[in-house]
């Protein structure tokens, strides 16, 4: 497989992760573009045969964290109405689940959301997730545990997400 193709093969997965991470279509597109641009310009730094997926997600993680820091200094961006439009019209249940899950994900601290998504959505090993996030594997486990527990309470616990949203 050619080098260019190796990177582009990961674009759909980078986009999926970015969308879940940011909850916003435009922010996700920007994040993916920045990631590709940086990966492209630094491809010579990637050692052939090493884990390309981890490398790409590491770039995305670093950009996301930097961007979040900048944005936190400015204020939050308002999620767009179209941000979560699905390409196909989903069944009603899926739509409800979509809104609930997205709302719940937004309630997680970034660091927990990243772990929950890298492991649960991207199905990355704990070791790879640790490498991507630059944290010890033990920290991956504790963030995963706290993140999942929090999502469980938000989604299936007594407190409904929409109530929590009002409080926020």
């Amino acid at each position: 497989m050619g080098k260019a193709e190796e990177i582009t093969a990961y674009i759909p997965r980078l986009r999926r992760y970015a969308r879940a991470l940011t909850g916003n279509r435009d922010a996700a597109d920007d994040l993916v573009q920045d990631t590709l641009e940086r990966a492209w310009s630094r491809f010579h730094l990637w050692r052939h045969g090493s884990n390309l997926r981890a490398w790409l997600f590491t770039i995305m993680h670093n950009l996301f964290i930097n961007d979040t820091r900048t944005r936190n200094r400015e204020s939050g961006f308002a999620p767009e109405e179209e941000a979560f439009a699905l390409p196909v019209s989903p069944a009603h249940d899926a739509l409800v689940e979509l809104r609930e899950l997205d709302a719940a994900l937004r309630q997680l601290p970034d660091e927990q959301r990243e772990v929950v998504l890298l492991v649960g959505l991207e199905q990355m090993s704990y070791g790879d997730a640790a490498r991507v996030l630059g944290i010890p594997p033990g920290t991956v486990m504790s963030r995963l545990s706290r993140g999942r527990e929090r999502l469980r309470n938000l989604m299936y616990g007594k407190a409904s997400v929409s109530q929590l949203k009002v409080v926020k």
């Binding site: 582009t8 759909p12 879940a20 597109d29 999942r148």
Partner: protein
């Protein structure tokens, strides 16, 4: 992690169970444990459900058409001033190094490799684009040529490939390793797209033969002709691509 059965199961193993990372023997142990502990079992079921929900909600993104890639360029331009400063510094440095390395033929191979890789990447990124495959369309060909010539600092000409069945779609400016590069895109009646990637080569009298490289599904013919380096990229067989490359070369060297 592998203490034999009974006893409490560590939190880490419950998650590894959810994520399917446990070896078979351990998985069975965890299942036994869960069968005897309905509360934990309920929690684990919810975690499994969460993973599933994540896929239900976000997997459709995998099949969406490509991102709106035009923005990369807009933002690229905003940063151009900074880039040029770096490029100028780089040119001064590489000019010195290049002069020293001349005759030793150092760097040439990796430069070619980089050129081909970038051409293939630009091809792969922009040819699937439906709404914005190019920045300036073929309907403004003169403007396109003037604009790109100015930005690359070298007089460009757009080859016409209609007799081979390929019409010009347009072109765009891209950031390259050593300053801006141009990409022209062509399309045949079936929607098959070719791209011609051009950079200024630095040398003014150099000329090389056609060389070929394959990057996955994509074939690339590349050559240097005077002040410009060319890379023709497409998902064609090698002979078909060569035919187009030759036509381009002949048009530019009548």
């Amino acid at each position: 992690m592998t203490e034999p059965q009974k006893g409490p199961i560590p939190e880490a193993d419950l998650h590894a169970y959810v994520d399917g990372f446990l070896p078979e023997a351990r998985r069975v142990e965890v299942e036994h444990h869960l069968a005897a502990n309905p509360h934990e079992a309920e929690r684990v079921r919810t975690y499994l459900k969460l993973n599933e929900a994540l896929h239900t909600v976000f997997d459709p993104v995998l099949d969406e058409p490509g991102p709106r890639q035009t923005r990369i360029l807009e933002r690229g331009r905003a940063r151009t001033a900074v880039r040029y400063a770096a490029v100028i510094a780089g040119l001064i440095a590489s000019g010195v190094i290049g002069w020293v390395a001349r005759g030793l033929d150092i760097n040439t191979a990796s430069q070619d490799e980089d050129f081909v890789r970038r051409a293939a990447m630009a091809h792969t990124v922009y040819t699937p684009e439906v709404r914005h495959p190019v920045e300036v369309g073929a309907d403004q060909e003169q403007h396109l040529v003037n604009w790109l010539s100015k930005r690359l600092g070298s007089e460009l000409r757009v080859p016409h490939l209609s007799q081979l069945g390929y019409d010009l779609v347009g072109g765009r400016l891209l950031p390259g390793e050593q300053g801006p590069v141009a990409q022209f895109m062509y399309q045949d009646g079936k929607g098959q797209r070719l791209t011609l990637y051009l950079r200024t080569s630095g040398e003014t009298n150099e000329e090389t033969s056609f060389r070929y490289d394959r990057q996955g599904k994509v074939g690339v013919f590349f050559w240097i002709d005077g002040p410009l380096g060319y890379a023709l990229t497409g998902e064609l067989s090698k002979p078909d691509l060569l035919r187009v490359a030759k036509a381009i070369y002949q048009q530019l060297n009548p």
